[in-house]
Structures are given as structure tokens and as C-alpha cells.
Symmetry: C2
Subunit: 352 residues, 2 copies
């Protein structure tokens, strides 16, 4: 039997609540499959920072590295200064483990009401670069607090970093029926980074001749996400543009309560094992306003578990979880259920 | 009698077509008012660049400076490499004339169908910073065309630059019934720039105690623009975030065919005159696919003329143009009209 060593970072706010249901779904789908899971919980986030001042220690990171994958709930809390946990924990994990493929599928499931009047058939995937762009932490501030303060943020983009994520996006596009890849950037203004992205997409396209590509400025992309989201199949984009458009993408498919994501490092060692654990998390945040009330919808976390299973080479189990999510959404209607009740229903569908 | 010296940069594609109607609307509203207009046309854009290699010469810029305002159609053409005209002409005008208030109102007019199922009452204004952020052209590229290429884009933000636009946004919020100002940024990741923006909004708020402020990360802002745009009154934001969310804002009010904008330098000399001409332009681009066919909707340009009149201290005339636009939209229904026909109808309403 195979055992999955799973690092669990439940984090802050509703993170704990939704992760609990995610783990139940994982247990349910693996029951009797010959694959087992053992979990290690990592106490990271606001509580830990208040208690110790630590965000992610070298020991934590080393321990997390020994796992096969990470399930993350949500990081962030209004009691912690903005940026401390985001940069020191969430982004530190993404950067240290070189999660260069930030994968965010957007599918409008049957039974879900989109805020768009005519949503059409929404079913696309955003491949957001995860380790470069304006997220690198480059930049700084001078004369802070004076009328002469200057603050810079540097977007760093490399041929190496862009090529690997673009290649991954082409692979994903090639595996889908429509085989369509859209680059989203802003190369008419961010000319250096933008042209590097554009040239890279053109070059890698040679290895995927059956994939059709097109290009949209990020501002135009927000228009199409409003007026004709069915035009998208696979989108590849920069870290910051990806952050922005995936929240919009989540909104049009019924809200970030439903949006799953994966922070993937697809690279493998010579023996076939992954060089680092990938991380699976709902797109939503810690939602302090509803934390502790058992109101949070765990669907996005459970859908993220499906991405986790797929990444670990268990496509049938992944599909079973996704089918359970789809069936639950198709039938939920206006019913109000607690976090645990949604978990119960999904576990029952997965088991059944 | 007062005479307005107007610099006209019709530009590329549909730019010429919509500017023609904008000028007719301007003439119509000023007829018999005691204010006259004289125009100087500047041949700038793709044609000029192909003919001379020039984007905006020092002489052009000096000549434009002597005017009271600029009416701009659209800049950009697929035959010119991306970035050349944007950086060399459009952004050069905005930066040289220090257009630090990029004003973009979003109003869902009666008679216009929003792509949102439940748009509610959309009526907000985005004050986009226009002279800093990632638009400064800072950054560069190293080892271009090799596998070791590195491209950077530097967002430059100053206390001076942010304070003046934030102050302008507070003034606009204070003049509106709801008096609500939302800062949109990403201060949990772009910590240096983001915290400077946040501290500036907090500090300037002391001078506008009756204005309520709140904050949204840019990714969350795209969600609210989809699910509850009625929550917004005035938004103040960075140059790039403003670019992105104003296109989304245009989409939800019925398309960029309707979205007006102003690039304003509100500073004045000791004698009360403006230090530089402000520039008024539709948000849409040059739309090469429909150029020359008389199909472009000039409404956004005519609505930009309303912003121009307001800026030049002619609020009654501004309101008359806006009322004409509103009335035309309320009654247009599904009718297909040419660019000139929409112009005719608006001119008739303005005159009537
Ligand atoms: C919390 C924040 C740092 C994060 C990001 O900007 O990537 C979040 O918005 C996301 O999209 O996962
Ligand atoms: C054409 C481009 C340079 C411009 C911008 O990015 O500002 C446009 O998108 C706009 O919003 O006016």
C-alpha cells in the first residue's frame, strides 16, 4: 500500500473549519483504495505569530519539505499587520517550494447561479506564474514617513521562470479538447516583461503546434471575463495579473466559496518523485467575519483536494471528488447548511 | 467672449471618427453661449510614425502645451510595434503634462443593459493615479533573447505623487452625496507602495473628516465589481490597478463604447490658469477591426467632452451634454446607428 504524507496548514479563521472537511473528503475517497494518508499538522498563522513572533521557521519548512503534499486552509488575520503572514508564511511557502504553477480552474457548475446575466459555458483554467513578477519582494522604501518618501516595487521576470510555466500551460492546453491558450499581460506598457512573455509563448508554441494561442491585455481580459468568459480555455499569466483575474474568475462562477487552487511544483527527481511538495488551497481567505460559526462553505477546499489527488497520480479518485462536488452543487438549491453538513453530504456522495 | 483653444489628437483607427462627433457636440453646446472654440489638429499616431518615425516631437509637445485642453480619440495600431505609440505618445502626453488625476466615471444609464444579472445602482468614479506606479518606464532587460534574459519593471511611488491624487479623490468624494472613498491596492504583497498609499489616505482623511474611507485589495475589488458594484462611490487607486478595474467598470456599465475619461492636471498658476492642458479621451482603443466603417459609437467621446467642459469651468454646459447622452441611451433600444447618426441625435438633443 501507498501512503501519502500530508502536511496540513489549517491556518487562520475559517481555515481550520474548511480543512477539517477537506481531510474527511480525502479519507472518504481513499477508503479501501489501497492508498492511506498520514497527516502532520503545522501550527502556523496568526496564533503562532502572536505567541512566538515566528511566521515560518527553518525547522517548519524543512519538516514540510519531507511531505508529499500540503493542504492549506487560509492565512491572514486582521490582528496581524498586513503583509507579515502573507509574505512571511504563504508566499514564503510558495517561493521556497518553487510553486511556479499556480493553477486555478474556473467552471460554472450546473445548479450554481452566476452573477452574469448570460454566463454561457464557463470552463477555463488559469495558469498563474507563482514565483516571479511583482511578488518577489524586491523593492523598498526611502525616507519613510516624510513628505519625500519613495517606495518601489520591482517586478522580476526571467526567461527561465516564464518558459517553465508557459510550457506547463501549453501541456494543459494540449490535453484539453479546445487546445486554446491565451496569454494575458500588458506588453504595451510593461514592455520589458511583456515582450519577454510574448516571445516565450511564441517560442514554446513551436513544440505544441496543435495549440492555438492568442493575447489579451489584462484590462481587456477583465472585459471578456464579464461579457464572454466562454471564450477562454487556458490562460497563462503573470503572478499579479493572475491574482487579480482569478478572483474575478471566481466571482463569475458563483463566488470564491467555490474556487479551488493548486500551487504546483511539477519538477521530479531522477527516481520520479517530486522535488518538493505542492500545496492545495481554496482561493478564499480566512474570512474573520464568519470564523468559528460553522458557516464557511468547504466546497473550495474539497475541490482543492481533487486537484491534490490529480497531482499525486490518482486521477480516478480526483474525478470522484469532483463528481461529488458537481452533484452537490447541482442539487443544493437555496438550502443553508453548516460547514459540517456540506462536508457530510460530500463525504456521503464520495463514499456512495 | 471667451475662447477655448483646443488641441485635437484624433489618432488612429476609429479615433478620427469619434473625435469628429465629439467636436460637433462641443460646438453645439457652446453655440450662442458666449464661449467659442478654436481647434488645432495634431497629426500624431501610427500614420505619422510610419511617415517620420516620430511619436511626439518636442515641437508638438510645446505647441500642445499652449492650448487649454486636449481632445484625444485613440492611439495604437497593429502595424506599429506594441508599446511604441503607447509609451512614446499617449503616456508621454500624460506624463509630460503631469496628468496625475485619471478620472473615469462609471454610471449605468437607464436604457443600457449591463452584463450583470443584478447590477443595482452603479454610479461611481475611479480616480486613477496617472503619473507613477508601474507606468513610469523604469526597469529594463538584460541578456535579451537568451535563456538567461531578466526583465524588470519598477513601480515608482512617491509621497508627493500619492498625496496629491488622494487629496483630489477626497475632494471629489466630499462633493458627492455618499462621501465614500475606497482605496484599492494590494498592500499585503506590495508592502512598500501599499503601505505608503494606506498611510497617505489615513493622513489626508484628517482634512476631510466627513468622508468615510475603506480599503479593498485589488483582487477583492474585481469581485465586488461583479457582485455588488453599487457599494462604490469614489475609488482611488494606483495607475496599473486603475487601468485594470476601469476596463472592468466599463464592461459592467454596458461596454467601453460608453466609458469616458479625463487625464487631469488640476494645478493652477497664480493667475488662476491651469499649469497644463488636461486631456479628455474615451476609454476604448482604436478598434482597427471596425475602423473606417462608420460603426464606432461616439458616445464615450461625447461623454468625455462633458468632462472637458466641467474641467474648464462650464458645469451647465457639461450637464447639458451629459443629459443628452443619458436621454439618448434611455431611448436608443436596439437601434443600429452609424457614428454620424449617433452624433446627429446627440447634437439635436444638445441643441434642443
Ligand atoms: C493572500 C495573498 C498574498 C494571495 C495572493 O496575492 O497571491 C491571495 O490573494 C491569493 O490569490 O492566493
Ligand atoms: C493604451 C494604454 C497605454 C492605456 C493605459 O494602459 O493606460 C489604456 O489601456 C487606458 O486605460 O487608457
Amino acid at each position: 500500500t501507498r501512503n501519502i504524507e500530508l502536511a496540513v496548514v489549517a491556518g487562520d479563521g475559517i481555515g481550520t473549519e474548511v480543512v477539517e472537511q477537506g481531510l474527511r473528503a480525502l479519507d472518504a475517497v481513499l477508503a479501501g483504495s489501497g492508498t492511506t494518508v498520514s497527516t502532520t499538522e503545522f501550527d502556523l498563522g496568526a496564533r503562532r505569530w502572536h505567541a512566538t513572533g515566528e511566521t515560518l521557521s527553518d525547522e517548519d519548512l524543512a519538516a514540510i519539505r519531507t511531505h508529499d503534499a500540503i493542504l492549506l486552509g487560509a492565512i491572514g488575520d486582521p490582528t496581524v499587520p498586513s503583509g507579515v503572514l502573507e509574505r512571511g508564511l504563504l508566499l514564503k511557502l510558495r517561493f521556497s517550494l518553487d510553486h511556479y504553477v499556480n493553477l486555478r480552474p474556473s467552471k460554472l457548475y450546473q445548479g450554481v447561479t452566476s452573477p452574469l446575466a448570460e454566463p454561457g459555458d464557463i470552463d477555463f483554467v488559469v495558469v498563474r506564474e507563482g514565483t516571479e513578477g511583482p511578488y518577489t519582494g524586491n523593492g523598498g522604501a526611502l525616507r519613510v514617513g516624510t513628505p519625500h518618501e519613495v517606495a518601489t516595487e520591482v517586478s522580476v521576470n526571467t526567461a527561465f521562470g516564464i518558459e517553465r510555466v508557459v510550457r506547463n500551460a501549453f501541456e494543459r492546453a494540449q490535453a484539453r479538447p479546445r487546445k486554446q491558450l491565451t496569454l494575458v499581460h500588458k506588453h504595451n506598457v510593461l514592455v520589458h516583461a511583456g515582450h519577454l512573455w510574448r516571445r516565450t509563448v511564441e517560442a514554446v508554441n513551436a513544440d505544441f503546434p496543435d495549440v492555438t494561442t492568442d493575447y489579451l491585455h489584462v484590462d481587456a481580459a477583465t472585459i471578456f471575463l464579464t461579457t464572454k468568459p466562454s471564450r477562454f480555455d487556458v490562460i497563462v499569466t503573470d503572478n499579479l495579473f493572475g491574482d487579480i483575474i482569478t478572483d474575478q474568475a471566481a466571482a463569475i462562477i458563483g463566488g470564491i466559496g467555490l474556487a479551488a487552487s493548486a500551487n504546483i511544483n511539477p519538477d521530479r527527481n531522477a527516481d520520479g518523485s517530486f522535488v518538493a511538495p505542492s500545496m492545495f488551497e481554496p482561493v478564499h481567505g480566512s474570512a474573520p467575519d464568519i470564523a468559528g460559526q460553522g458557516k464557511a462553505d468547504p466546497t473550495a477546499t474539497i475541490a482543492s483536494v481533487s486537484l491534490l489527488l490529480d497531482h499525486l497520480g490518482l486521477p480516478d479518485e480526483a474525478a470522484r471528488v469532483e463528481r461529488a462536488v458537481a452533484a452537490d452543487l447541482a442539487e443544493r438549491g437555496g438550502r443553508v447548511r453548516s460547514t459540517a453538513e456540506v462536508g457530510d453530504d460530500l463525504v456521503a456522495r464520495i463514499a456512495g
